[in-house]
């Protein structure tokens, strides 16, 4: 099976480096699935999950809070703002952040805090969905 090299790096760490059969990420304009020989592509990433499916069909997911994705003929590069292995996400902390964000949205303050809160909320929701998908994968 053809593979494409995949590098996921964040400013804090080298997250993933290896061959992948398919890379799934949430780009700004929608979900992306990148298979080998994909056309060159450059996009921003939304907070969410990046999934790497290896040659043997093994899935690994990472959570990114935004970043840049570049596709070259033989390599996919994800420059993540922050990246976490999905199983490192602390569910309780995420839930707290979500509640906090929702509470902030309820008693709307000035425009700036609303925007901050919305950002927090999207991040928390994305982390949660990454967790849920991870859990589903584990059950299979």
């Amino acid at each position: 099976m053809a593979t494409i090299r995949c590098d996921i790096v964040s400013a804090e760490a080298n997250i993933f480096h290896g061959e992948a059969a398919l890379v799934i990420a949430s780009g700004e304009a929608g979900e992306l699935g990148i298979a080998p020989r994909h056309e060159p592509l450059l996009t921003r990433l939304k907070p969410g999950q990046v999934e790497v499916i290896g040659e043997d069909g093994k899935r690994q997911s990472y959570y990114v809070s935004g970043g840049i994705l570049e596709v070259q003929p033989n390599v996919v590069t994800v420059l993540a703002d922050t990246a976490l292995r999905a199983d490192e996400i602390d569910e309780a902390a995420v839930k707290r952040a979500k509640e906090e964000a929702e509470r902030m949205l309820e008693n709307r303050g000035d425009a700036k805090t609303v925007k901050q809160a919305q950002e927090q909320l999207t991040q928390a929701l994305a982390q949660l969905s990454a967790l849920e998908r991870l859990r589903k994968n584990l059950q299979h």
């Binding site: 790096v9 804090e12 080298n14 929608g30 450059l42 921003r44 840049i68 596709v71 420059l79």
Partner: protein, 306 residues
């Protein structure tokens, strides 16, 4: 005995100096660990970022960003990252020498040079020299923060975008290992120059000789951009600029601690050697004094008893 007392004072003062240098050595030895970790975690990001922008430089988008075009060079800007404190051997001096050589070549060609100094030592050095110092930033501390760097980055970025400067360079000490730090001058903007530099990679860790950027394609090609070329390229360029400058400060910080550790170790060793020599001289002087006293007494007794 007057000579002996002077020597004793000298020994004491050298011992005090040794206390200071060995303390500095130990401080740096403990800090270098953290600085090195920070640098190593940021390195792959900086490396990949550089490759991505080099790819962009080789693409042919419809959107024309100023950073994608090579212009005639009339004015250049150097971002010089140095340490805040001294006592780190020839670290800063080596970097400045390299930058100065570059500046001179530009000036001979009639090209204007601007300097942005990050770190106290660079600020002090370039103030004395006939160049335009357009920005300074000092006291970054042991954990440089990106927010602090934004001001000076904006000076360089704005200058470039408004066409006031045609090339931006980044100068810092690259950390190779504890014994070796390499004074490095990298081109930051425009991007075609970056791609050119990557092609002629120096073969070290930050500039691999066979970078992925070496995509030679006969036909012109372009990316698919999502949502559109302008937004994405702007975003990438911002990130690129931030990542490169931030990483340079981390490399320089690790280099600083390494250089200081080595320099202070050498200073402490020298102090120990000096103390040994002085002790020897002191003992000789003391013995000579005693011998003289005895011979005086004996001489005196002989004269009286004679």
């Amino acid at each position: 005995m007057a000579g002996a007392r002077e020597i004793r004072t000298k020994i004491k003062s050298v011992a005090n100096t040794r206390k200071v240098t060995s303390a500095l050595q130990m401080v740096s030895a403990s800090k270098i660990r953290k600085a090195q970790d920070l640098m190593h975690t940021s390195r792959p990001y900086a490396l990949h970022m550089r490759n991505v922008v080099a790819h962009i430089a080789q693409a042919s988008p419809d959107y024309q960003h100023p950073a994608l075009r090579e212009r005639e060079v009339k004015r250049v800007c150097y971002l010089v990252v140095s340490t805040d404190r001294g006592l780190c051997g020839g670290l800063n001096a080596n970097l400045f020498r390299k930058v100065l050589a570059d500046i001179q070549t530009w000036q001979q060609k009639g090209v204007g040079v601007e300097i942005i100094a990050i770190g106290q030592k660079a600020a002090q050095f370039f103030r004395r020299i006939k160049v335009d110092l357009v920005g300074t930033l000092t006291h970054l501390g042991d954990h440089p923060r990106l927010e602090k760097l934004i001001g000076v980055m904006k000076i360089a970025d704005d200058g470039f975008m408004q066409g006031k400067i045609d090339r931006v360079y980044l100068c810092y000490n690259q950390f190779v290992n504890t014994m070796t730090q390499r004074a490095t001058v990298d081109v930051l903007l425009p991007l075609p120059a970056v791609a050119e530099e990557i092609k002629t990679g120096e073969g070290d860790e930050l500039h691999p000789a066979s970078g992925d950027a070496k995509v030679e394609r006969a036909t012109s090609w372009d990316y698919l951009y999502e949502p559109d070329a302008e937004t994405v390229i702007r975003h990438v360029l911002n990130r690129y600029f931030e990542a490169m400058v931030y990483h340079a400060t981390l490399e320089n910080l690790a280099s600083e601690h390494a250089a200081r550790m080595v320099a202070m170790k050498a200073a402490s060793d020298n102090a120990t050697k000096a103390i040994d020599t002085l002790t020897l001289v002191y003992n000789k002087a003391r013995q000579a004094a005693i011998t003289q006293e005895i011979s005086e007494i004996v001489g005196g007794a002989a004269a009286v008893g004679g």
